[in-house]
């Protein structure tokens, strides 16, 4: 395991003329002295601790959420009345392009990555992910990619072709600023981050589970994360190809999308949506995982049909590859393709429906406690169901030709993404906040947060159903009275409602940040070890967890291991009678007492952040100056070699984390 990797003295080579087989701890074979700080800014900059990286993912994602939210508010301000003048046509086009790009790639995906990073190793009883340095590299690459993408605002304008960036509208002739270049390269960079993250997490889940944790005992959140990582693993290279083609088209005059050379613009659409549709599940499945964790805890019942939820998650992931063309029902595919993709799309509603029913059945017969995370989880069920059902209405291809590219679609996917993914992520934030930061988020504020968000989102996106069915297309920087109609369903009224709703929603989200402040003021109580009476492994340790996560690697006998350590069924036959046999404090204390005698964590490293830094440099090079590419490449190459030759742990600075209450024997190496 990487985290306890260290050199041995066993000669690995029998060759007679070979020098000492492997360098001994006394002779480091890294390049620089390793950074070893555990506090201060360096401990964050060079950290490879999955928990610190998870928190950083979360903070950065939240920052981008705010940026994307401001973009959304500007869009709604522009559309509040006819012939809006808040934004110019050009600015508006940039705004909706970047709103979607930011929300999808820089908020929802990294927010899910934040939870995945923080929780997956804890949920499977591991001390870190399989490749901690790659993990750090993934985070910094995502951050630099996101910053790179957003620098386009001040460097001549952001991308203006929509997040789907259909060719040939993305060619230089039609989008002459560098915005699309920034977009393509920025996504390429964040794609690298996602790909490395995917490989890392897959290996982690497959290989680093605690003893006894068979695949069907893996917590559902971790399961969903694994499905998502497989989707990423296979979806990212497809968009990579598309983005390369676009880059060659724009920067090196290739002709992939030049119709005058005989190109077929539908190539881009196919490549984009083969990536883009799995992307939808990449966005929403982590939230499904969170909801599936939260509901059982507050229903005091295991997840109804756990195996079925696992398989339906995998089925969604699998079938998700066969439905991409339902984004293209109007683009002139033949009737046969349209019929096939239409039916396939309906088929994917089945596993999705299974999830919803399983959630409701989990609650059925339970002992429901409506805390804020539970409220959000129930919110997901309601809002996502609406989004799912409107989805069924346009899986019917002929019906879709009336609805696609109208506000009806905007309504649909916001119910799915905001109602499904974002509410789910908020549920996770409230649920795991005490685990991550050791303080409870204020429940009262949390309720304000929840209700304002729910009311706001329904006010914003609900009217969009009406707008779309009344024929208002998407991506219009203005609408006119001429086409608004009168009467109850007139476009003007519902646009205004949507705009008002967006500000209610913004207020709701703001409450979350207020809540953080309120909950972390001086004098607030430390959270108890097990505030929710939770069920899974991540709670069998302190809050926040120690750097090495568990003093003793837990051994797992049940799906809901923590629950089974706390409770015992003393009933007979069909009669069940659960008694608490241990408190969380007792369980954690016992683990500490029997802690492993020595634990090696991988040391922090300079190389991941350096290598990440090389990527945007090269990307700027592609846009502005070819020599910058050379400079960036040199830095990348240097970092890769530095990385390659660096041992996983710093031999001079073996780190044995001190544990409270127990004396750990210092590692001895002969």
């Amino acid at each position: 395991m990487a985290i306890i990797e260290r050199p041995t003295d066993t000669p690995a080579v029998v060759s007679p003329d070979a020098a000492p087989a492997v360098a001994t701890p006394a002779t480091s074979y890294g390049v620089f002295r390793r950074p070893v700080e555990t506090t201060g800014w360096k401990s964050w900059l060079f950290t490879i601790d999955h928990k610190k990286l998870g928190i950083m993912y979360g903070v950065v994602a939240m920052a981008f959420f705010v940026i994307g939210g401001i973009e959304a508010l500007l869009i709604r301000l522009q559309l509040a009345g006819p012939d809006g003048t808040v934004l110019s046509a050009d600015a508006y086009n940039q705004m909706f392009t970047m709103h979607a790009t930011t929300m999808v790639f820089l908020f929802v995906m990294p927010m899910a990555a934040a939870f995945a990073n923080y929780m997956v190793p804890l949920q499977i009883g591991a001390r870190d992910v399989a490749f901690p340095r790659i993990n750090a590299f993934g985070f910094w690459t995502f951050l630099f990619g996101g910053l790179f993408l957003n620098t386009s605002w001040i460097l001549g304008g952001a991308a203006d072709g929509g997040w789907f960036m259909y060719a040939p509208n993305s060619s230089v002739a039609f989008s002459p600023t560098n915005g699309v270049d920034f977009w393509a390269l920025g996504l390429q960079i964040t794609g690298i981050a996602s790909l490395t993250g995917a490989i890392n997490l897959i290996v982690t889940v497959i290989n680093m589970r605690a003893p006894g944790m068979s695949l069907m005992k893996v917590p559902i959140f971790t399961w969903m994360i694994m499905v998502v990582q497989f989707l990423l693993l296979f979806a990212i290279p497809v968009i990579t190809v598309a983005l390369f083609l676009l880059m060659f088209q724009r920067s090196f005059d290739a002709t992939f999308f030049s119709v005058e050379a005989g190109a077929d613009p539908l190539l881009w659409q196919h490549l984009f949506w083969i990536f883009g549709h799995p992307e939808v599940y990449i966005i929403v499945l982590p939230a499904f995982g969170i909801v599936s964790e939260v509901l059982p805890v507050f229903s005091k019942k295991p997840l109804f049909g756990y195996p079925l939820v696992v398989f339906s998650g995998a089925a969604i992931g699998f079938v998700g590859w066969g439905v991409w063309a339902h984004h293209m029902f109007a683009s002139g595919l033949g009737p046969i393709s349209v019929a096939v993709f239409s039916v396939a799309t309906m088929a994917i509603a089945i596993p999705t429906g299974v999830k919803i029913i399983n959630w409701v059945m989990t609650m059925w017969g339970g002992k429901l406690k409506f805390t804020v995370p539970m409220l959000y989880a129930v919110g997901v069920i309601v809002q996502f169901t609406i989004g799912g059902l409107s989805g069924v209405t346009h899986s019917v291809a002929p019906s879709d030709t009336q609805q696609t590219d109208t506000y009806y679609i905007v309504a649909h996917f916001h119910y799915v993404i905001f109602g499904g993914a974002v509410l789910g992520l908020f549920s996770g934030l409230y649920y795991w906040w005490p685990k991550m930061f050791g303080k409870m988020l204020n429940e009262r504020m949390g309720r304000w947060n929840f209700w304002l968000t729910i009311i706001g989102m329904n006010l914003t996106f609900g009217p969009m159903h009406v707008l779309g069915l009344q024929g208002q297309p998407r991506r219009m920087y203005r609408w006119t009275e001429n086409r608004a109609g009168e009467g109850f369903f007139n476009i003007g009224f519902w646009n205004l409602i949507a705009s008002i709703g967006s500000f209610v929603l913004a207020l709701g989200v703001l409450m979350f940040f207020v809540n953080i402040y309120v909950s972390h003021r001086k004098g607030t109580q430390k959270a108890p070890l097990d505030p929710w009476d939770a069920r899974s492994l991540e709670w069998i340790t302190t809050s926040p967890p120690k750097e090495h996560n568990f003093d003793r690697t837990p051994t797992v006998g049940h799906l809901d291991e923590f629950f089974h350590r706390k409770y015992e069924d003393r009933g007979e036959g069909d009669h069940h009678d659960y008694h608490q046999v241990a408190t969380a404090e007792e369980i954690v204390a016992e683990e500490e007492a029997k802690g492993d005698s020595h634990i090696h964590l991988p040391s922090p490293s300079y190389w991941p952040i350096l290598l990440s830094l090389a990527l945007p440099i090269m990307a700027y090079g592609v846009i502005y100056n070819i020599w910058l590419i050379a400079g960036g490449a040199a830095l990348a190459l240097l970092s890769m070699y530095g990385w390659g030759m660096e041992p996983h742990t710093a031999p001079d600075d073996d780190y044995d984390p001190p544990a409270a209450g127990t004396e750990l024997e210092v590692a001895a190496h002969g």
Binding site: N207, M208, L233, P237, F256, S597
Partner: protein, 208 residues
Amino acid sequence: MADTAVAPATGHDAHDDHGAHHTSTGLSNNKLAMWMFLGSECLLFGGLISTYMLYRGRHSENLGPDQVWDIPFTSASSFVLLMSSLTMVLAVSSAHRKDDRNTKVWLMVTALLGALFVAGQVYEFTTFYREGLGFTTSLFSSSFYTLTGFHGVHVTVGIIMLTSLVGMIGKNRVPGDKAETVELFGLYWHFVDVVWILIFTLVYLIPA
């Protein structure tokens, strides 16, 4: 999936042992990661090959594929790349026998054969260019150069990794298990070879 959770609950000794990685599947993390990476690469080349197959006939009044190919030459260079897979196997087997000297020798031979292949590709591209097939000439040329270029870059990166590996073995600076590291490089190298066989068949041999 082999669902064998090994229980290292008692032994920290196991942790310190380099050779035996205790993972839930028994497969080392590095190897699993390499397989995942190669799986991802399949789709990368899948996308590029699809693009090429769509555009191979689209060159309007410019040069078409069968007008520039030099099949005998490309066959020779393909054979050289195939041979490099053989030498890679020899390198891996030497590494497993902990024979550093021959590992280095075979890795070097592999790298050299790879370099010859890349040189052949450079030569081939040069002749194509002289014959009038530039990168921006037509859809066919753009997609051809992109596909084979991507493969060439993969080979080149592989060669640099191989030579570096030779250096690292020489200086005894391979972190982790040496035999496994060589094996991982081998996996990558074989993958690149297999992709070439696919490209050679689809791009060169099937007439447009």
